[in-house]
Subunit: 576 residues, 2 copies
């Protein structure tokens, strides 16, 4: 895996290039961020010809290592204006790796409004007109592409939101069953793909070899321990497989940190009705699927298939963040309504977190009533039809707040806050503020030591110790995202003495290296440094590492306030 | 004039406060910027309770000094996110000065959506419900307020755009004939007034004394020279009174710098049809008024009243910037259509520059066709009705560009560029980049030495010398804006040896001081320093002092490109 595939979207041409020098040892987020820093002018318009969309499998992707099939997608974000890496499951990562492709880089910009379909195979790269797919939702796009190119080809595609280059647009990925429930959700990367005029990319690895592994025996040994570790941990071995990520609804609600009604309270009266336990119960009753992996080789299986009351498919990858954003945050309490909204987001190609928070802002402004599911569904549908209100909603929370003239807008770097109120999970609040990605829980999931007591035990309600855990988790996450590993492996890794060592063993066995855990930390730090540097050149300062003013209001039930100073926050970025 | 009137818009209370210490010697922009720096958290939400709307007459306002009736309005801008001073003619400045009010400060934020009317008289301040004015355009608001409170009371009001808190909303001012053609146009200050729940402010100076002047004889002598100077200069004595500011259409077109079709070319095929000469001809034929002052005591008289083909009133204050933005920039070539758009902007309360550039962006996106006046008029009307597309258009060019997914958006600090292409008037380009206000020609009108050869002669097509002229003009302008003088006095001042000295003589005579021209320069510098400091604390860096990438494209007819580096630009802000 040593080749970069560059596609000029204006000329509809492609070229292969050896990834030499510094790039040779990078993968996933480390590679997307390095290429962005090297090649994209940080002040360019995110939808202009200067931006690039970069797709990179992780370092372990394509191997037999459990949970290593995550893909990094990078670009200058049209939502935040800063660097962005958003990662996803699906089938593309492992197939690109097997084809020996380290990164696909979409460059330049078409002169006309036509859309293309890119088909990457073992012996060819085709850039074809995508006229027949224009305007289609992701469900139909994937269905047709699987009909045409074969079941189980990798597909990444944009829906109407990305075609319109709206900044809440995500890139959706076919999951192993051909549903678009997986997404590189955050930061509006679907808009960048849209600006490159690319409707979908198909990756077919038929005829490819395997990913070469330098020391197959050592790899096998390490992977055995790896699987054992993941299966043995209560979160990755039991909680997540049994209830999916929505197991967190009750946990976070109990902790008083489930942002409700646009971040007004940490307890949602109807939390139980939208909980993981409730989903499991309904799947039991209605059919569907309680355990599913987002990519082959996943041993955690936190994904699911959720049916309606008639037992008909409604949505998949029905996750905690989406259920919170579209549910508790908007006070929509009927799980089926939340599932309809989730399905619409996946089909239209909208980030569910951004969309849920945007609906909260629309309710804040009185555009629709709190908890009015029908009105919310109608609003999200307008994004697909391209009507003006859809263009507002489809551009996210900060944009909608400006359109509607309200000032209670929960964003950092214009990206909507995820499902943990920073006043009552202060570690993740530090991550929201300081991550180069904007408000992003996955960038340093301090919920683990704050609430789940995994990898430490730091009081979530006080500021003490929270800068440190966020910092360490941001470093670790940058490395995990570069390896192509699912973030949830961190639960097991943090609680196992040989956790990081096992990842190092896998990398060493694959690449014939002799890395140490310190090298993994160094990798994480160097990724973050690249990202900070890009953002500094794009005009970001410590002033942008802040929560909106209203987080100084006391947050029930603990009546905590956000009290970290700019100076304290900057320590999370201090690697000197 | 030593009192600050503070109005708490939540409690509907007011208080008077002596302006002591540093504030005593400040007026206009110097005062608004100082108060903002002292009192408004630079990171607050511009529509939140932390922001303040500050209205301050200039230091000379209310005296007999010619052209001294300009008013500064300041706030953190919801359009740029930085500090903003936007100034206007009208009747408010002189009346506040006569009432002894140095500044009116609107503070806090109402809890409900109701609107207030503030009536300031010699012996009372009333904060009244404005229910009967809700939703009305500025023409009707001023008409009713003059009916109720007497003709010629000062009125500043917002239209539907400001009520909706849209970031292209301006604050309109009744001119001496009760038309809303004057505006604190730029930076979305109408949205701040809307966020404070204030529909209009009436200022009635009946019963007030005169502004006290320390040395009336010296003042009279200085003012005599001042009037002579203004009347004697070809621009302020002949060009502007005869053809209005639109005299510039042919001049700038001839110079190849009239931005046409969203900044694609510097020549508009139909420039002659929308020129000042054409306006004068039509006023001659249709009636209207060719010469008018925006405030009493103006000796330049660049304003006008423009009638339709049936001799009925169409618009007033029909100025170069508006005609360019709504005309050449959109390729709308019928002057009556441009006048209708100008009238709509005044009535709805929209900045004409921002709106014209926004229409250009909408045409760029294909939302409406280039030059389609009817479609443009319909689009602007949607702002008044509050429909979703109106909320997009009413939030300006950068916002509309994001909504419609295009990347050719001529803004600096999210504020639309005015009527001189920076590639062919490089001095004003430096001002666009480096002014703390965002793209603003009035902040340092280098068009004078670049094109008009007033106050110097610097090649507009080359970068040499242009940083210096922009810097000096920005300093001078900050002082002029603080004095309450019309910016156009600069034409005469720059070409007269005793120009600055005469302004100093007026100030000294009024306040019993012994300032020198150097003190005026120091005042200008200190205003700019306050503004830079506010913006730095709000997160602005040199990266924000830039034109969009597309200004690197060659600009016909001269095929000039924007070639000033970040480092060169920063020299315009270097006062060390």
């Amino acid at each position: 895996m040593s080749t970069i595939l560059r596609i000029n979207t204006r000329e509809k041409t492609h070229s292969f290039e050896e990834a030499g020098g510094d790039l040779a040892s990078l993968g996933g987020r480390a590679l997307t961020s390095k290429l962005l820093l090297n090649e994209v002018p940080p002040t360019c318009h995110p939808l202009g010809k200067g931006n690039k969309l970069i797709v990179a499998p992780g370092l372990l992707s394509g191997t037999a290592a459990a949970n290593s099939g995550r893909l990094s997608v990078g670009a200058k974000s049209p939502l935040t204006g800063g660097i962005k890496e958003s990662n996803s499951g699906g089938l593309v990562s492992q197939k690109l790796a097997k084809l020996g492709i380290k990164a696909v880089v979409l460059e330049d910009k078409p002169e006309d409004a036509g859309l293309s379909l890119i088909v990457i195979k073992n012996d060819s790269v085709e850039i074809l007109p995508a006229d027949e797919y224009v305007g289609l939702g992701n469900n139909e796009v994937i269905k047709r592409l699987w009909e045409k190119y074969g079941k189980r080809v990798g597909v990444m595609s944009i829906g109407p939101a990305g075609e319109q280059r709206l900044t809440a647009a995500c890139i959706n990925f076919a999951d192993p069953n051909g549903r678009p429930g997986r997404a590189a959700g955050r930061g509006g990367l679907g808009a960048v793909m849209g600006s490159k005029g690319v409707k979908a990319i198909v990756v077919d690895d038929s005829g490819s070899g395997k990913v070469s592994v330098a020391d197959p025996e050592a790899f096998k040994t390490a992977n055995k321990r790896w699987v054992e570790m993941l299966r043995g941990h209560p979160v990755t071995g039991q909680g997540l497989p049994t209830y999916g990520t929505a197991v967190l609804i009750n946990i976070i609600n109990e902790a008083g940190a489930l942002p409700t009604k646009n971040f007004r309270s940490g307890r949602f009266e109807y939390a139980q009705d939208i909980s993981g336990e409730r989903i499991a119960e309904l799947i039991e009753k209605r059919g569907g699927k309680a355990k599913e992996g987002c990519h082959p080789g996943c041993v955690i299986q936190c994904s699911n298939v959720y049916n309606d009351k008639d037992g008909k498919y409604l949505t998949s990858g029905f996750e905690y963040e989406s259920i919170w954003a579209l549910g508790a945050n908007t006070t929509i309490k009927d799980l089926d309504d939340v599932a309809i909204l989730d399905h619409l987001c996946d089909d239209i190609g909208l980030d569910t977190i951004e969309t849920g928070v945007t609906l909260g802002v629309a309710m804040e402004a009185g555009l629709i009533a709190w908890g009015d599911a029908k009105a919310a569904i109608d609003l999200v549908k307008k994004v697909a039809t391209g009507e003006p209100m859809g263009k507002i909603i489809g551009n996210g929370a900060a944009f909608t707040g400006q359109a509607l003239g309200v000032d209670r807008i929960p964003v950092v770097k214009r990206q909507a806050l995820p499902a943990y109120d920073p006043r009552s999970v202060k570690g993740v609040g530090v991550t929201y503020c300081t991550s180069p990605m904007g408000a992003d829980h996955t960038a340093g999931y301090a919920v683990a030591p704050n609430i789940l007591k995994v990898g430490g035990d730091v009081d979530p309600l006080k500021k003490e110790g929270n800068v440190e855990i966020s910092k360490n988790l941001q470093i670790a996450t940058a490395a995990i995202d570069s390896a192509g590993l699912c973030l949830f492996v961190a639960f097991a890794v943090l609680d196992a003495e040989d956790g990081v060592q096992t990842i190092v063993d896998l990398l060493n066995a694959q690449y014939g290296l002799s890395l140490t855990p310190d090298d993994v930390v160094s990798l994480g730090i160097s990724v973050l440094k690249d990202e900070y540097e890009f953002n500094a050149r794009a005009g970001f300062t410590k002033i942008h590492d802040r929560l909106p003013d209203f987080f100084k209001e006391p947050f029930p039930p603990h009546n905590t306030t956000w009290d970290l100073t700019d100076e304290e926050l900057q320590q999370a970025k201090d690697f000197a």
